[in-house]
């Protein structure tokens, strides 16, 4: 039981990332390989806000998320918008280039030092079960953010515009939707979510320029496991993967658990490529 409890929040970081990836993929058919680097930038933003002005990491979300939204907006406007309609390989190469540039830039600017600060440690004990405090806080914050993003997509005007663009850019354009702007908003939100994931990650892990890659592969797995373009799907996918990984790691070893995760992914692709959730067709 402890193992399952530990596995639940583990999926959470991956859910944030996969949510953003899914959004970008849904709206633009672009797989963003630089997403992990946006996480890294978010983590650094929060780290420096803490070190320089002593800002509480959770409050720093208020600064780091709009900041990352801006970064995403600019990235979309200057770079990604040029490859939206190009073949998939073009956007893969472009975002991979962005990923390398950001990693290298971070190494030059922030140095390769491992950065971490003690914040929120220990566990909350309920009966025999120990809930990690930093993970719990990260998890709750993440749930709130996911809820907010889901609300935005489902209920607001721009959310609807985003979904319309995702379903068919041409029809959306014909209906008078500013699809370029919709795409910039989508990329901005996805980047802000990655930044938030980075900020929350910082409670748990060490910050360094190459941290993004650590999370990316699993985020892709989560994205496939959940449904493409579905926020709750990404969330469920992340949690299922987290529990599978932590259980496999308990029963066997951490190395085998790593393999089990990707075997699950393969099995999923073969047996149920549409993910856990089948989206209702409009």
């Amino acid at each position: 039981m402890q193992v399952v409890v530990s596995g639940l929040p583990l999926g959470d970081v991956h859910a944030r990332l996969a949510g953003g990836l899914t959004l970008i993929f849904g709206v633009m058919r672009v797989i963003n390989l630089a997403h992990g680097e946006f996480l890294m930038l978010g983590a650094y933003a929060s780290f420096f806000l803490f070190v320089l002005i002593g800002l509480n990491p959770i409050l720093s979300l208020l600064i780091s998320m709009p900041l990352m939204f801006g970064v995403g907006w600019i990235a979309q406007r200057l770079l990604i918008s040029r490859v939206v309609r190009a073949p998939l390989l073009t956007s893969l190469l472009l975002t991979y280039g962005v990923s390398l540039a950001l990693t290298g830039g971070a190494q030059a600017t922030f140095t390769n030092d491992f950065r971490s600060v003690p914040f929120l440690s220990g566990a909350l004990n309920i009966g025999e079960l120990a809930f990690s405090v930093p993970r719990l806080v990260a998890c709750v914050t993440a749930l709130v953010l996911t809820g907010a993003a889901q609300f935005f997509l489902a209920r607001t005007r721009w959310g609807k515009a985003l979904r319309a663009t995702a379903q068919s850019a041409d029809v959306a354009l014909a209906c008078g939707i500013d699809i370029d702007r919709a795409r910039m908003i989508a990329f901005g939100i996805a980047t802000a979510l990655a930044g938030a994931a980075g900020t929350l990650t910082r409670f748990l892990y060490t910050v360094y320029p190459e941290m993004g890659k650590t999370f990316m592969l699993k985020a892709f797995a989560v994205m496939v496991l959940g449904a493409m373009g579905s926020f709750p799907g990404a969330f469920l996918g992340a949690i299922v993967l987290g529990v599978i990984e932590s259980t496999a790691s308990y029963v066997t070893t951490a190395q085998i658990a790593e393999a089990v995760v990707y075997i699950t992914l393969l099995a999923m692709l073969l047996l149920r490529p549409q993910g856990f959730f089948v989206l209702k067709e409009a």
Binding site: L88, L93, N112, V117, Q167, L204, Y250, A254
Partner: protein
């Protein structure tokens, strides 16, 4: 319309993901070259062309942070050497490249150093993985190499004649910690390690020594590099109830293990990490949770070794930061090479190889430089440090200790 779109998403995805994986795994093409010439000549009349000494060290990639210390030490050594008049009356020019923490890139760069840059001598790269790969190149061209940043004993198990150890092999890192545990009457030990060359060697050596000293190994497991969660492993450790827990690990995983041990209330009497614990960033990342944790160190600034305080002062002056033990091993590598050239009285690489295999000198490192027939380092003495408040004093071996060990580690709940 919608149906078609969705199907095309799904059809595209597996292929795209595969491609993404390919691209990710193919990273590390050609190395960025950052040739860093040594400081200009000061004093001493250079005779003829400068002596070129080549090395490639990871200054980017996963080991970039640690490798940087080694590069700084190489450059400091060359600068001081030139100020003393150079090698055999000739100035020294360092050619330092970056292998991006990639063994394959490392081998290419040593080929380049030897064939294109035509260096006279080489110094070793950082990390056991890169050194092991690179030593096949230096062996092929018969270039003697001091392994100033690597210590997995596999490097010396191939009957190579041209690679020499500077500091203790990875296998012996925890000997001091185990001695201390034995002295305090502890009987059971658990060993968890990352699955990389260095960490696995540390684990194997620790297990063997612990068994010899009468310990029972109650748990032993490896975890993948770049792990982000070890709660299952910690849960299993709790069930195994070890008195001593050692981790063959770097900074991020050492911090992760400590944090999760606290969360899941895993209590041991002694906790030690290999590379991670000796780094200043370990204490910064954990604050007071770092207290009581042990770690081996190849060098500490407080040691009274030959020329140590001068080394520390000049390093701080030149690079504006405290040297790490990786700085000291790099600097010692230079000191040993210098002594070997003086002994050989020439730049003839066969004579230098000869000199390196019989040389016995003191460096800034504790103990001595003296290798056996295989080139393995036997006379260096690693020390044990313990985090106590903001400091990490040397607590063993007794002759070099600057503080008493605090023992045992209290339970997390009572801290």
């Amino acid at each position: 319309m919608t149906t078609r779109t969705r199907r095309s998403i799904l059809a595209g995805t597996p292929a795209a993901l595969g491609l993404a994986g390919l691209i990710l795994s193919a990273c590390g093409g050609d190395a960025g070259e950052s040739a860093a010439p040594a400081a200009p000549a000061t004093g001493g009349a250079p005779k003829g062309a400068p002596v070129k000494i080549g090395a490639s060290v990871s200054t980017t990639g996963s080991n970039g942070k640690t490798g940087q210390y080694q590069v700084e030490a190489y450059q400091l050594w060359a600068e001081q050497l030139n100020a003393r008049g150079g090698l055999l009356g000739r100035q020294v020019e360092m050619v330092i490249l970056d292998d991006q923490s990639d063994p394959t890139v490392g081998t290419k760069l040593y080929e380049k150093l030897i064939n294109e840059d035509k260096v006279d001598l080489v110094l070793g790269p950082y990390s056991s993985g890169v050194t092991q790969a690179v030593s096949t190149v230096t062996e092929k061209y018969k270039y003697p190499m001091l392994s100033a940043g690597a210590s997995a004993s596999d490097i010396w198990k191939r009957n190579y004649k041209y690679v020499f150890g500077v500091y203790s092999v990875a296998e012996s890192y925890f000997y001091g910690v185990i001695d201390l545990a034995k002295k305090n009457g502890l009987k059971t030990i658990a060993i968890i390690t990352e699955d990389t060359a260095f960490a696995k060697a540390t684990a194997a050596g620790t297990a063997e020594y612990a068994r010899k000293e009468g310990f029972r190994i109650v748990f032993q497991e490896q975890y993948p590099t770049k792990v982000t969660d070890l709660s299952s492993l910690i849960t299993k450790l709790k069930a195994a109830k070890p008195e001593v827990l050692v981790g063959g690990s770097y900074q991020p995983d050492s911090v992760l293990i400590t944090r999760q041990a606290k969360e899941l209330d895993l209590n041991v009497k002694m906790l030690a990490f290999s590379v991670g614990a000796a780094m200043p960033e370990f204490g910064e990342g954990l604050g007071k949770d770092a207290d009581f944790i042990f770690g081996p160190s190849m060098w500490e600034p407080s040691l009274k070794t030959k020329g140590n305080s001068e080394f520390e002062a000049s390093y701080k002056k030149k690079w504006n930061r405290e040297p790490d033990y990786h700085s000291a091993t790099g600097f010692a590598g230079g000191q040993i090479l210098e002594a070997a050239v003086l002994k050989a009285k020439s730049l003839d690489r066969e004579k230098i190889r000869e000199a390196l295999s019989t040389l016995e000198i003191e460096t800034v490192l504790p103990g001595k430089y003296k290798v056996d027939d295989t080139g393995i380092q036997l006379s260096h003495i690693p020390v044990v440090i313990q985090w106590q408040g903001k400091d990490k004093p040397v607590i063993g071996p007794d002759a070099m200790a600057t503080a008493k060990p605090k023992f045992p580690m209290p339970e997390w709940k009572s801290r």
